[in-house]
């Protein structure tokens, strides 16, 4: 059961793991300190033979979030390692030297969200070139970073509430 993995995280990485959420018997989200990313991913991919699936960037008004999805193919688990990065200086150590499969997605997240990956072996645009400029990051919702008009309104928390309410009205229709 994935509860055993939760236990391992609680005991072996007690200082680095901030929160664990078991979603169901095969899915777990582990929120960690960004500085411990390499150590924890190394533990999963090398010791436990997890496979790196992909990473998802998420933009919030005050911060960025990255979820690194890893799969245990022998048990069918998906573990998501979650890190939060401040909006004013979003940077994190690159996984690409440890897990080459992360090479492209880190370049993609950089293009879309403007998150910096330190020590990436080949940080050139993956999908941005010819589409948008190096300083534009279309998926970043923070007003000053994004290029989408009106994204500043979503930046404030009241704006988000309003947005959420509208979405519910839409549902009733």
């Amino acid at each position: 059961m994935i509860k055993q993995m939760e236990e391992i995280f609680r005991t072996e990485f007690s200082t680095d793991v901030l929160e664990t959420t078991v979603l169901n018997h095969k899915r777990m989200v582990v929120k960690i300190r960004p500085a411990a990313l390499l150590e924890i991913v190394n533990f999963l991919t090398e010791d436990r033979r997890y496979r790196f699936i992909i990473a998802s960037g998420v933009s919030h008004p005050e911060h960025f979030e990255i979820l690194y999805h890893l799969s245990d193919d022998t048990k069918g688990y998906i573990l998501s390692i979650q890190v939060e990065l401040p909006a004013e200086k979003p940077e994190i150590e690159s996984l690409a030297n440890l897990v080459p499969a992360a090479n492209w997605i880190e370049r993609e997240i950089h293009d879309l969200f403007g998150i910096t990956f330190l020590n990436h072996p080949n940080m050139v645009p993956l999908i941005a070139s010819g589409n948008w400029g190096p300083d534009e990051h279309p998926y970043a919702t923070q007003g000053r970073r994004g290029i989408v008009a009106g994204s500043a309104a979503e930046g404030s928390s009241s704006g988000q509430k309003e947005n959420s309410r509208l979405r519910n009205i839409n549902k009733d229709l």
């Binding site: 998420v58 998501s80 499969a101 589409n131 979405r167």
Partner: protein, 409 residues
């Protein structure tokens, strides 16, 4: 120092599903380095989905891929049902698996045909595309469409397969089985195909792990991963089937895995049809009224490998984040390992071996301005080189008499 030639494949090219540019750096005949450029076709689907309701997202994700159009709705439905925490009726599970497996058969037939074409075996190409039509006919009968079937919805499927239709589907499957056998024989027993594909573009298990490659690409290198078995969804946990693997990791192994997988798919469909007969007609959906806030991780085994969808909801009727990863995203990165050290005439089939979809029209790269020491070979030229190599092998085998001997056997 020998002259270095750059051969661009793409951005628009018959070898690829999406517009992508591969630059092969060659010295003489040998590929010494490869570079990728992508992003020509960034459609912003993940962002579009944030403005679509959960039901509308199905229609968007169904159009991500033109060939395996059901694999994305499959993974998305799995993700949404995980958030909602619901179980769908058995009948819906069977119907989903039938659609998924029919798609695997037609996608693999398409691949076999194109692989045959690249090698200069246009008979294999014509055969397999002809037989693929009969699979599309089954789709048309069940869903009304040859592609983009719109069968999936959160909680089940949109249309039932009436029990009265089952004998007809069985009949069509029965006529398909000998054709798959014929193709398998044509590919597996041919000495020329052996000569062209064995030991070519080998991917070791270490390389597969390194790049996180999935699907037949991984299974042909001895890595037995298959989401259908490892993390069962739909009806895959309720039927008997086996994961096909091969150890060689070359192009031939990939062809072998795909050909044998089609036989397994037919068997899965037959078992699912049996299952359909045991369940009540019309019981195809669990009604979902509300999607609670949460996260869902859905995956499905597409013909090319694992499709992964991550959805986050906030209690409204649209996703706040929807991340999609198609199998080609990780499989294409292995070209760096499989192409280097091989010849240009083999590059065509190596690049094709991971099956990066072929639905784009044949449009080539001649629009570029040619740089002095750069030679540009377009797709036709590459295919011509590949055909030439096959002809050479045939005449060599002919001269040595081994081809004739084999034919006599």
């Amino acid at each position: 120092m020998s002259r270095r030639t750059i051969i661009p494949i793409g951005p628009y090219h018959p070898l690829q599903e999406e517009p992508e540019l591969f630059k092969l750096f060659c010295e003489g005949e040998t590929v010494v380095d490869i570079e990728f450029e992508t992003g020509y076709n960034h459609r912003g689907i993940e962002k579009i989905n944030e403005k679509k309701t959960f039901d509308q997202v199905f229609f968007v994700v169904e159009r991500i891929c033109g060939i395996c159009s059901t694999s994305h709705p499959f993974a998305y439905a799995n993700a949404m049902e995980e958030i909602a925490g619901i179980e769908i009726p058995d009948r819906a599970k069977y119907i989903r698996s039938i659609i998924g497996e029919l798609e695997r058969i037609h996608s693999h037939l398409l691949w076999v045909g194109l692989a045959g074409h690249f090698l200069g075996y246009n008979t294999v190409y014509m055969w397999s595309w002809k037989y693929r039509e009969s699979v599309l006919d089954i789709f048309e009968m069940i869903t009304g469409n040859r592609n983009n079937y719109a069968m999936f919805k959160i909680g089940g499927v949109r249309r039932d397969i009436p029990n009265a239709m089952i004998p007809e589907i069985r009949k069509m499957l029965d006529s398909l089985k000998p054709k798959i056998g014929l193709l398998t024989g044509a590919v597996m027993d041919d000495p020329v195909i052996h000569a062209r594909t064995k030991g070519v573009g080998v991917l070791t298990p270490e390389v597969i792990r390194k790049y996180g490659a999935v699907g037949p690409t991984a299974r042909a290198s001895g890595i037995a991963i298959d989401v259908r078995r490892d993390d069962p969804y739909a009806a895959y946990g309720m039927v008997n089937w086996k994961v096909i693997t091969a150890d060689e990791g070359d192009v031939f192994a990939k062809a072998k895995v795909r050909l044998l997988e089609m036989v397994e798919s037919v068997s899965i469909i037959e078992q699912c049809l049996n299952g359909l007969e045991k369940t009540k007609e019309g019981d195809i959906e669990t009604v979902v009224r509300e999607i609670p806030p949460g996260m869902g991780f859905g995956r499905a085994e597409a013909p090319r490998g694992e499709v992964f969808h991550f959805v986050r909801s906030d209690g409204s009727n649209m996703p706040v984040r929807h991340k999609i990863r198609a199998p080609s995203y990780v499989n294409i990165a292995t070209f760096r390992e499989s192409c280097i050290g091989q010849t240009i005439s083999d590059a065509t089939i190596i690049l094709a071996a991971v099956d990066p979809c072929y639905c784009c029209t044949e449009r080539l790269t001649a629009a570029y301005q040619t740089v002095a020491d750069m030679r540009r070979l377009d797709g036709m030229e590459l295919i011509r080189l590949s055909h030439e190599k096959t002809r050479k092998i045939i005449s060599e085998l002919d001269n040595s008499g081994s081809l004739q001997k084999n034919n006599e056997v």
